[in-house]
Amino acid sequence: MKKLLITVLLVVTGFFYSCSDNFLEEEMVSTLTQQRYDSPDGIEELVNGAYEGLRFHFNYEWAYALTDYGTDTFTNGGGVDQVHWNTYSAILGPAETANLKPFWDNMYAQINTANIGIQKIPTVLPDSDMILKNTRLGELHFLRAFNYFKLVTQFGGVPITINPITSDVSEFPRASTSEVFKLIEEDFLKAESLLPATPAQTGRITKAAAQHFLAKMYLTRASEQYADITQGSDLENAGKFADLVISSRTLAPDYQDIFNYNKVNAPNETISEVLLSAQFDNTIALQGRYSNQTHMYFLSVYRNFPGMTRNLENGREFQRLRPTDYTMDIFDRKSDSRFYKSFQTTYICALNSTNIPKWTAANAPTPAQVGQPKFKIGETAVAMIVNSKNDTRFTAAYKNTFAPLILARYTVNSTGAQATDYDLSTYPSLSKYNDPFRANLGEAKGTRDGILARLGETYLIAAEAYGRQGNYSKALTYLNTLRSRAAYKAGQNRGFAYYISENVPTTETTSTVSSMVATEASFTDGTVESAKELYPAGVTSKPQMFIHFILNERARELLGEFYRWVDLARTKTLIQRTKTFNNEAAPNIKEHHAIRPIPQSFLDSSTKNGIPLTPDEKTNMQNPGYN
């Protein structure tokens, strides 16, 4: 009896637990699935997620590798991890996985997110709030077009998907460039019609942003690279949409205002000029895997100079991008404040180290200073002198008369020959992205917003659109608006390095507006003005010169803002200008480099009629020159 009792007890308790019906059911406790998108909250999260994709363009080394490397404006510094993107060595091929593949993969992942939202919003979001519904839909159409625009300008025609992917499909033939542009046009137009003029929150996409990108898209399709698919109304449309933006927004009064980042979420990030920016700040939990790392890439090595140590103000020197001679010479540095406002030319002493030089009897300003350190904490320790080639002032003795360490672009050595203090790791650093509000010096995750479109560029788009139509005077009004802003204002201090480099008395603070006014002479062959524009050999006709003038002006206004490679590629000037101005890229760059290789991982996983592509089919799918 006891035996039976115990047995029954054990069996009953044993079966009790396991036989309940839902024992094998999966509980979704902490995991969300795509069903989430069937609710309005889910749509909100999807759109937030789609916005996050904008951060990609500032996340990591791909930010500059695909955009500023291997161009006329920047070449490589001493940090050569991605150097093949500058030198066009064969490592920059289909199998490159550090930048090329992430770029492709991320654009398509973001496109799929947008596709899901575009399909779901009409049924999921209620009609009771049409503003919200239209805005979300407009945002996703914008983002889808934005991503395809990024793809087409790097790769040419790419596969098009406009519906959510729900299974393991792998047949994705490349669409033609024209088809991709058509989709981009439709999406931007739709976004433009749906989006509000005023954003509900900082950083949301507005009508003006859509108009800016419409103008940019039309101008791109009207550029030389796309001559075979240019539509007759493209330039007109480019001008029209640019004008719409220009009429609704205002330029920042001073070029400096755009980059004057003096605290986290500083006012400069919300000025009217900023049309769209990827949002970042210092909330670590919201920074994601990378945050904005562009603060590191342009910086040269300063930490070994006397009185210097690595610090937050001056940043982590990844020394990837070094300005070319073209970049330093294309500015009228005396009048165009954009140069010194774009570059860091002085460093403040951070350390009273023993290696700070001392005044000697030969160079001390007063006898009392002999034997004293030339500078102390808080004073200028280093000045980068950006002088011109014929400048013979900078002998060792002359440099020693200054308190800070003088590093001049052109010096005279002991034998009287021309030399330089610059090298792979020593050059003026582009300072547009300096970020002293990171958690600490070692922190790669930056806190600044990344500008994706600003009104300054809209002016340049308008100028180019009108100029391409032969209306140079209208083009010049846009250009001169920007150039007049770029001038030094009366009373503005121009900084220590300016006065020494440009050999201007420090008392000089009159406005330079008048010398900044450009005329057609700047793109008319044979003029004094056009000689200053460093046109590559063979650029002689006025329309040609105009395009190169625009490129020069874009270099001056938008230096290092991650547009350059595409600008050169679309105007079919990449090979010519890079060969002329970028010594490191010149030996290898060839015609086929004006378009990027399609990632091998995409080709390897593609099928045709369910069968993987043969080597020949892959070769045919690849852009020419990369097989």
Binding site: S18, E26, H84, D105, N112, N304, N588, L603
Partner: protein, 1047 residues
């Protein structure tokens, strides 16, 4: 020292503790001894046919009530059993010969035990003595090389264990590790690493499907059954196992001294066109001004470099000139021995104290153990405390209850792991990356942050104290049972096995650590991560055994449920005010908020029914059939349940009349088995396609998002798969077990073919889909292999004995089909007819030489940018063009083609000398690619220069970005190696000596660990690699002393 003292104390204590034994009225008494005449304590004496018995005391003496005509059975572990009929004499002295034949060994087969001779599946078995033949920190280490068909890799970080594969890999994306079952309960909350090897009685490895099918859906990668020690009837026995190991780190690679490094950097500069005089000529000698430019950033380092020159005016860098060339001797540059501060003698102390005692009614075993290991690299250590209590209570004839509780607690200091692109896996590697001409501290004793002046090389020398990564684990594992004998041959048994694990990882990085930047603005960092696993298994079993004439039948029926739940939480903070608070007060951060936080929940469950029939006829023909029906929560609706059958046959040929007379054959058994087993090892919720969380904000308003795929993130997103089902393996196994020449030769040979189909396949879908992954059932792999296990007694006489144990495993895995049938999947690196884990890349065939200019020009006109000194790869289709579509090829496989273990043991009187050799052959490992930028420290290699037209490594190039063209092709090395795992010398103290100390056994031993290594790639210890792992040049060698004592 303290530990050794306590050990001594302990020994003395036990020596004093005279055991009294228990008295009984004596009818028969005597002494049991071994063949050499030494008494055997603890031997069993049983009155045959009754339950009355006793065991010998430490002098080998026994006494028992018995009457004439009754049979006494004398037995002792490891000895042959002797039966003596009681006659007139009241004194019976017995000598027990050592058990040579293992035929009567009992093995655990899962849900029961079987006589080894009756086993029909492929099962490898290893007993406590074999397991602990060399001192080990975890159970897996003791198994390596000792059972054919299993391959175990090493991991030299204290507290970490290697990976184990039984009969190779078969699943492509599912789990390939085996199922562990301890005392009948599957481990679900953690692995085997927490069990003390001294507590293990035996380990059985179920290899083929006919053996593993009783574990159904979890059986496809083999099953490892661990049985912990149980109490034994008889006199109490106290055991003490104690070892102390001393280990040192050895680096197999060569490195430059300071002068050599300086010249290497100059070569890199020369090749990049940077080592030129003012006129633009490349200088083939050392030049102080150019040197200053490239070595001068760190004053202390420059002092060292400048020692290579003879100076006229050192301050202005004017050297003495000889024939117009600066006087320079690189050997005068002092070389800093960086690593001396980050290597130490690792000490491992392992002590286990155990007591076994029991009566007919109560049997207990209790043990307590401590393992204390300090690594060969400072900052890495591991301490583990284990406790085991096993009790079996036989309340009545028909009801037994009992259980085992295993508790352990461990603290692991994981040690430094670097971060960033040049981060190193351990402190040694980080320090090894320092320039030999630089110093950690300047002449005034100040810390140098970037020794040598490179901004990418940060001084890690202080990090051993500044980076804390402490992991604690507490684990409670139990196995409780109740058994009721319902009728003759009919038993009911319930087993309940809870398994609870709490894991905590606390990390703290001081602001001064290299990881945190080490400057004034740096902040400290702390994180706390906790995981709690609670799982249980509840099983109800019915056993029925019946013997009718020559037929014997055994039936086992099972119902089983198990459940596993994991909850986790994590938080990180920076900028904490008090370093002393470590991760214990994250709320105090000066930032006002945590930097990150999160929590998680995962649950899965399994429900099963199983039946097994064992049938044998005349003890000659054996048959086993099993069927298991499993349902799992992780699979999609409609695919949750499946059935896993198996059958096997055995034929004891030696029992047949025609062989019975052949005296030299003791055992000859043929086995054949077939079965289907499953693999459900996909992550829970995999079928639903979870969303990927993103972080964004508008202005400063958080905007949490969810997307379907995020290639730049750590979770790239999955396409949902509503059809996901079981992966199955159908395996056929043929085996022979043999024993010849009176046990001089014993062993077994197995041959198997395993087809795995509906493979759980994680694959990267086409990138245009926007997803990073999809898990599907597709494709088929085939595993074929041969296993040999052989034990021989080569010489045996009175004083001397030489035995050998050999295991040999050859396994070949090939992919038979994939998603699209018999079509390669290049992007996922999977090829038909090839093993699962292979490398597909260009193949390096040498270095482009200056005289190849004409040929190079052809390639360069077709998209390449080769120069003399670049790596030359094979142009497979020979079209003058190197392209990914036509010129990549299969370079090698990561799984070994065969492995073998070879143990030789020599016994001379009380001495025992044994050596264990282990080899793994035919696989590639990753390691050894050289960056050759001249900007960082790496292994010394024979690189190309115009004067040294090497075909081994490309030219050093200061501007190559650390990535010479075709960089990856340098990375594939032959990983074949032969390693002497240990050579051990043991001495058994003579019994007459130790018996005076009240001991029954005292064995002292000394052992050399890893004394010899032959590696095909001389600078790597490939043993640290298994699949796709990068092999290391760092290896440990050691020396052990220890004792086993019993009282």
């Amino acid at each position: 020292m303290k530990n050794k003292f306590s050990l001594l104390l302990l020994l003395t204590f036990f020596a004093l503790m005279h055991t009294s034994g228990y008295a009984q009225s004596k009818v028969v008494k005597g002494t049991i001894s071994d063949v050499t005449g030494l008494p055997i304590p603890g031997a069993n004496v049983l009155l045959k046919g009754t339950k009355q018995g006793t065991s010998t005391d430490f002098d080998g003496k026994y006494s028992i009530n018995a009457s004439a005509g009754q049979v006494l059975v004398f037995s002792s572990t490891g000895s042959k059993t002797v039966e003596v009929t009681v006659g007139q004499n009241s004194e019976i002295n017995v000598k027990l010969a050592e058990e040579i034949s293992q035929l009567n060994e009992i093995v655990v087969v899962g849900y029961g035990t079987q006589k080894k001779s009756d086993v029909t599946g492929a099962i490898g078995s290893i007993n406590a003595a074999k397991l602990n033949a060399s001192p080990i920190q975890n159970v897996l280490q003791g198994v390596q090389g000792k059972v054919a068909g299993i391959d175990i890799s090493s991991n030299s970080r204290p507290g970490e264990i290697g990976s184990i594969r039984i009969r190779g890999n078969r699943s492509i994306s599912g789990e390939n590790g085996p199922l562990y079952v301890v005392d009948g309960v599957p481990l679900q909350s953690g692995g085997i690493e927490m069990f003390s090897a001294s507590d293990v009685e035996s380990i059985e490895v179920l290899k083929d499907a006919s053996a593993t099918a009783i574990y159904g859906s979890r059986g496809s990668n083999g099953v490892i059954l661990v049985t912990t020690k149980k109490g034994k009837t008889g006199k109490a026995q106290i055991t003490l196992d104690s070892t102390t190991t001393f280990e040192t780190l050895t680096d197999l690679a060569d490195y430059y001294d300071a002068g050599g490094y300086a010249e290497y950097r100059r070569d890199a500069l020369r090749y990049a066109g940077l080592y030129k005089d003012g006129a633009g000529n490349t200088l083939n000698y050392a030049d102080p001004n150019l040197d200053f430019k490239y070595f001068g950033a760190d004053k202390t380092a420059w002092e060292n470099i400048s020692a290579g020159y003879t100076w006229v005016d050192k301050a202005n860098r004017v050297p003495v000139l000889t024939n117009g060339i600066p006087a320079y001797d690189g050997s005068k540059i002092p070389t800093t021995d960086w690593t001396k501060d980050v290597v130490q003698t690792g000490v491992i102390q392992n002590h286990t104290l155990g007591i076994s005692m029991g009566t007919d009614k109560i049997k207990t075993y209790a043990s307590a153990g401590v393992l204390n290991q300090t690594g060969t690299i400072p900052g890495q250590d591991f301490r583990r405390y284990t406790g085991l209590l096993s009790v079996e209570l036989k309340a009545t004839d028909w009801f037994t209850m009992g259980g085992t509780i295993n508790f352990n607690y461990s603290i692991q200091n994981y040690g430094y792991t670097g971060s960033g692109s040049r981060g190193s896996a351990q402190l040694y590697g980080a320090v090894r990356g320092q320039f030999p001409f630089a110093q950690p501290y300047d002449a005034d004793g100040n810390f140098i942050f970037n020794p040598g002046g490179s901004i990418n090389v940060i001084n890690p020398i202080r990090d051993k104290d500044l980076v804390i990564n402490e992991r604690t684990t507490s684990r409670m594992f139990g196995s409780f049972f109740a058994e009721i004998k319902l009728a003759q041959g009919l038993k009911f048994k319930t087993i309940f096995g809870p398994d609870i694990r709490n894991w905590r990882n606390g990390q703290f990085q001081f602001a001064e650590s290299s990881i945190r930047g080490g400057t004034a603005t740096s902040t400290n960092y702390a994180s706390l991560n906790k995981v709690e696993n609670v799982s249980w298994t509840l099983e109800n079993l019915i056993y029925y055994d019946k013997k009718i004439d020559k037929h014997s039948i055994g039936v086992t029926l099972l119902q089983s449920s198990s459940n596993r739940k994991s909850e986790g939480s994590t938080m990180t903070a920076t900028d904490l005010p008090y370093d002393s608070q470590l991760w214990y007060n994250l709320g105090s951060t000066n930032r006002g908020a945590l930097d990150g936080w999160g929590s998680s929940y995962v649950k899965q469950s399994l429900n099963s029914y199983m039946a097994r029939i064992n049938y044998s006829f005349a003890d000659k023909y054996l048959f086993t059939a099993t069927g298991r029906y499993d349902g799992s929560s992780v699979l999609s609706e409609g695919n949750k349940w499946d059935f896993f059958p198996s059958a096997s046959l055995g034929w004891k040929v030696n029992e047949e009349n025609f062989l019975k007379e052949v005296s030299w054959i003791e055992q000859l058994k043929l086995r054949a088995g077939i079965g289907t087993v499953g693999n459900q090892a996909v992550d829970p919720y995999g079928t639903a396609g979870g969303l990927v969380a993103t972080q964004y904000l508008f202005g400063s308003t958080p905007a949490k998002g969810f997307v379907t795929g995020d290639p730049k993130g750590t979770n790239t997103g999955s396409i949902p798969n509503k059809d996901l089902g079981w992966e199955k393996t159908k395996q056929l196994n043929f085996g022979v077990d043999f024993g010849f020449l009176n046990g001089r030769i014993t062993g077994s040979v197995d041959y198997y073919i395993a087809d795995t189909f509906d493979i759980l396949l994680d694959k990267a879908p086409n990138s245009v889909t926007g997803y990073g992954n999809i898990t599907i059932n597709a494709g088929k792999t085939r595993n074929k292999g041969v296993e040999l296990q052989l034990s021989t007694i080569n010489v045996e006489n009175k004083d001397f004995r030489w035995t050998s144990d050999i295991t040999f495993t050859q396994n070949k895995t090939e992919i038979v089909s994939l998603v699209n049938g018999k079509v390669d999947d290049i992007v996922n690196n999977r090829f038909i007819g090839q093993p699962i884990s292979i490398r597909y890349d260009y193949k390096k065939i040498g270095i482009w030489q200056t005289e190849d200019a004409a040929e190079m020009a052809i390639y360069n006109s077709n998209g390449s940018t080769y120069k003399a000194g670049d790596i030359r790869v094979e142009d497979v289709n020979n079209d003058g063009r190197i392209d990914a579509n036509n010129d990549r090829q299969i370079i090698g496989q990561y799984d070994p083609k065969w492995t073998a273990g070879f143990i030789n043991t020599f016994n001379y009187k009380n001495f025992e000398l044994s050596a264990f050799i282990f080899t793994r052959w035919g696989q590639i490992v990753n390691g050894g690619a050289a960056e050759l930028s001249g900007q960082f420290v790496e292994r010394k290699v024979n690189y190309w220069t115009p004067d040294n037209p090497s075909n081994e490594y490309p030219a050093a190039n200061y501007n190559n970005g650390g990535q010479p063209i075709h960089y990856s092709t340098m990375n594939y090395q032959d990983g074949s190696f032969v390693k002497v795992r240990y050579i051990s010398l043991g001495y058994d103290m003579p019994k007459d000596v130790i018996s005076k100390l009240g001991m029954t056994k005292l064995k002292l031993f000394a052992q050399a660990l890893n004394p010899f290594l032959y590696s095909k790639t001389s600078y790597l210890d490939a043993d640290s690699s298994y699949t796709n792992g990068a092999a290391s040049s760092v290896t440990n060698r050691g020396f052990v002393i220890g004792l086993n004592a019993a009282f």
